[in-house]
């Protein structure tokens, strides 16, 4: 587990990253995303309709122990987090829409997560720690708002903040992926293939289905990339917090396996998807002649 210092450091890093993300936005971006709320609605549907169902399919068809299955279900019901915003930013998606989707799914989560768990796992009565929900929202909205104000006050301060925030984000992604493996080596070698499939599949299939769903509903590729990232990337730390809050000892440990595995692999999956999305974005760019343009 991470200590209080590491946790504070992590929170600070996310704060700086989100500050940078915020500095890339203007109020007009948010107005636009709100003006066309179909993107948001599609996000909520994919987040709480498609993802839990995907989790349900995975636990139905994969040979998983009960504890792992519960972990998969909890993970599948989580809203998006700042990680989805960061990957949306890097995959040239619609960051304002991404932030709004994260906020919506987090707020809706308080109401919808228990309802969904009633549908898929009658016995499971999760306690959702309000303070974690609030902390998630604060850590998202406060730096984004400050970032936007910085940019408005001085375009250079905004651009430098954005640059530093995104550089830190790249470092953060690399750090998570590289430091996680040695720290959890023992856990990695004892995990069954089915658990891997579930933990990786949840994110990968989530992104793929989210993208296809959004494109089928004729969203612009830029917004479809956003929905894809928001759908597939769940708030792993929130899942871990919920489990720690609801359960104790051995039980809590066994439920946390999937959220922990998921949190590692989603960083790797999303990085690869981001590379694909960026390439697609470049390919779709209009070709302009040299010289006068």
């Amino acid at each position: 587990m991470v200590g209080a210092f590491e946790q504070a450091l992590l929170a600070l890093m996310i704060f700086v990253i989100m500050l940078g993300m915020g500095a890339s936005l203007t109020p007009r971006d948010f107005f636009l995303a709100l003006k066309r709320p179909q993107g948001l609605a599609i996000g909520v549907i994919s987040q709480y309709g498609i993802m839990p169902f995907l989790g349900f399919l995975l636990i139905t068809f994969l040979p998983l122990s009960d504890a792992i299955a519960i972990g998969v279900l909890i993970m599948a019901c989580m809203p998006g987090g700042t990680t989805s915003n960061i990957f949306t930013y890097f995959s040239k998606g619609n960051l304002a829409l991404s932030v709004l989707m994260t906020v919506t799914s987090t707020v809706f989560g308080v109401l919808l997560i228990p309802v969904i768990l009633v549908i898929y796992a009658t016995a499971l009565d999760l306690q959702i720690p309000r303070e974690n929900i609030i902390a998630t929202l604060v850590l998202l909205l406060v730096p984004v708002a400050i970032g936007m104000v910085l940019r408005k006050m001085n375009a250079n301060v905004g651009a430098v903040t954005e640059f530093l925030g995104s550089a830190l984000a790249l470092f953060f992604i690399a750090f998570i992926a590289l430091s996680w493996v040695p720290r959890n080596w023992g856990f990695l070698v004892t995990t069954t293939p089915a658990t891997y499939v579930a933990a990786i599949g949840l994110g990968l299939f989530g992104i793929a289905i989210g993208y296809s769903f959004a494109r089928a509903l004729r969203l612009h590729p830029r917004n479809a990339r956003t929905v894809a990232m928001e759908t597939g990337i769940q708030n792993g730390p929130l899942a871990i917090a919920i489990i720690a809050f609801t359960f104790a000892g051995e039980e809590a440990q066994s439920y946390m396996a999937v959220p922990a595995l998921y949190s590692l692999f989603i960083v790797i999956t999303s990085t690869l998807v981001t590379l694909v999305f960026r390439r697609a974005n470049t390919a779709a760019e209009q070709k302009m002649p040299d010289g006068l343009l």
């Binding site: 940019r151 651009a159 760019e285 209009q286 006068l292 343009l293």
Partner: protein, 574 residues
């Protein structure tokens, strides 16, 4: 008051002078100084990079820096009046400092396209024989090869983020050096622009020299700019533009806008390169004179590079070419958040297609007005008056400009007859640099023949029907490719279109269209059916070929001659 010989003056606004007697300033340095005196502390130039990082210079700063450069060029580099200085950089804060410094030193500015290959640079340097070169570091690696055997004694190197605040300048420098590797080490003797300015300032402090002394004897008839043209048709020719040419054309083009542009209040987007005569005269000189803030974009490709500029600045005017306006109207961010403070836009460089103008109007709610001009005419010859646009025309001649169509025998034709457009006015160049034969080919007395075929309506609106040599003759009927392309481009499934003539057994020549389509479902039959709705039968393309892209010159003009050459070699192979 409409003049009998110049009916178009009836369309001038009430405050527009039909005749501009003499330039308002003796020379360009006087204009530059006067603007700095009037607008001193106001922001003159802001260079905005794709990520929003930017640097700004006020009118007073540009004035002081260009003084320092003039002193450097004359006192340290040892240049004299009339010596050429090549300027090779994309839009950035160094551009106005360098250009104005060259004028203040009494030297002649030679614009060089920074995207030129070393070979192209060498040709231009050999012809212009510059005594100094001011170049951006990104392209300096081509200089040793370009000047082999023909060295340029003074090289001043600058960078895109020059004069930015330290933090963004540092970041841009690191990114260019280590991330995108767009800046290579400069391997030739050179001085950095800020050091050259320091050296100039030191001279001023020490010897009490004044930059104003260098241009005391520079008058309207003296050479200001060597502007090269015709790079795509073989021999590059340097059009000799004088201080008077540029000062007059600046006034001629602004006269028509005078009522709509407010002194000291406009924010102008300069996405077109300043090394091109259109942006040079209109954006750099005219809007500086007007006290506008110029937003300089070093590289507008991809078009998302313009997003931050549109978001961060209240753009009131922009210049562009058909490709740029069309491209912006296809960008999702531009459609989502069209500029809200725009008054209108100016198009030049190539024909503005009516479908593109219409789309721009829909998206932004403002007009895009088309102008027409050439390098040899500094460049503006005609412009559409705001509120009095006429589809398919390039507007009316600007003040103090005469326009007539000439027959093949070199005589002026009556109004209403199609012929080669000739221009007479204070903006017509002095001639081509060291090429009297080339000059003689395009001048008939004091009329400059443009090589464009046009016709003037009885009331003065001018239509370009084509370039002389691009015309297609189908069974004795003349087909002008522009007209057919205009129709094709208006089809929603067509991104771009080019039309040429190819040999045809039955008709002598047939119309062939090359199409870049947006929708792969679009086929030749559907396109021909569409054309039949809009064109007489002989103008409808007989052959339609779909392409992924069309060959273009480095200024974005579609190269019909390349397509024609391809078509001819194809026919020869069959």
């Amino acid at each position: 008051m409409a003049d009998k010989d110049r009916p178009w003056t009836a369309f001038y606004g009430p405050d527009v002078r039909a005749e501009i007697e003499t330039p308002a300033y003796r020379n360009l340095p006087d204009l530059i100084r006067s603007a700095a005196d009037t607008y001193g502390a106001a922001k003159a130039f802001t260079c905005c990079l794709p990520n929003g990082m930017n640097g700004t210079l006020t009118f007073a700063q540009v004035d002081e820096m260009s003084d320092a450069l003039a002193v450097y060029l004359r006192e340290v580099a040892g240049l004299g009046q009339g010596d050429r200085v090549a300027l090779q950089m994309p839009n950035c804060l160094s551009y106005p400092v360098a250009a104005f410094g060259i004028f203040k030193a009494g030297c002649v500015l030679v614009n060089v396209n920074p995207l030129y290959t070393a070979e192209e640079m060498a040709k231009q340097f050999a012809d212009a024989e510059p005594h100094a070169l001011i170049i951006v570091d990104m392209f300096a690696d081509k200089v040793p090869e370009a000047t082999r055997g023909n060295p340029i004694p003074n090289v001043i190197v600058t960078r895109v983020a020059e004069f930015f605040p330290a933090m963004p300048r540092g970041i841009v420098g690191l990114v260019q050096k280590h991330w995108d590797k767009s800046v290579k080490p400069v391997e030739l003797a050179h001085i950095r622009l800020p050091d050259a300015l320091e050296a100039g300032r030191a001279h001023v402090a020490q010897d009490r020299v004044e930059a104003d002394a260098y241009h005391q004897s520079v008058g309207a008839g003296d050479l200001a700019v060597l502007q090269y043209t015709g790079g795509t048709t073989g021999v590059a020719k340097g059009a000799m533009l004088t201080h008077g040419n540029l000062l007059m054309n600046m006034e001629q083009s602004m006269e028509l806008l005078a009522g709509d542009m407010k002194k000291g209040q406009e924010v102008v987007l300069t996405a077109l390169p300043l090394y091109h005569i259109f942006a040079f005269t209109v954006n750099l000189l005219s809007f500086y004179w007007l006290g506008a803030r110029n937003i300089l974009i070093p590289n507008p490709r991809p078009l998302t590079n313009l997003k931050r500029a549109f978001e961060n600045y209240k753009i009131t005017w922009m210049s562009g070419v058909n490709t740029l306006f069309n491209g912006l109207c296809n960008e999702i961010w531009f459609l989502d958040t069209p500029p809200r403070h725009m008054k209108f836009a100016g198009a030049g460089g190539m024909a503005l297609q009516s479908a593109v103008a219409e789309r721009w109007r829909e998206v932004t709610g403002t007009e895009v007005l088309q102008g027409y001009g050439l390098t040899e005419t500094s460049p503006v010859v005609t412009f559409e008056p705001l509120g009095k646009t006429r589809a398919g025309t390039i507007g009316i001649p600007v003040p103090s400009t005469e326009l007539a169509c000439f027959g093949d025998d070199g005589t002026a034709l009556p109004v209403g007859e199609t012929g080669e457009i000739g221009v007479r006015g204070p903006q017509v160049m002095k001639g081509y640099w060291k090429k009297p034969d080339e000059t003689a080919k395009v001048m008939v007395g004091d009329w400059f023949l443009t090589g464009d075929i046009g016709v003037m309506d009885a009331d003065g609106y001018v239509r370009i029907v084509d370039r002389k040599k691009d015309m297609v003759v189908v069974s004795g009927f003349n087909v002008y490719p522009n007209e057919v392309e205009d129709v094709l481009a208006a089809h929603p499934g067509v991104v771009e279109a080019a039309v040429i003539g190819v040999p045809d057994a039955a008709a002598g020549e047939a119309v062939k269209a090359f199409i870049v389509r947006a929708d792969t479902g679009l086929d030749a039959a559907a396109l021909r059916a569409y054309c039949k709705e809009h064109l007489t039968g002989y103008k409808v393309p007989k052959i339609v070929e779909f392409r992924d892209e069309l060959p273009k010159s480095n200024v974005g003009k579609i190269l019909r001659k390349d397509l024609r050459a391809e078509a001819m070699s194809q026919i020869a192979a069959e």
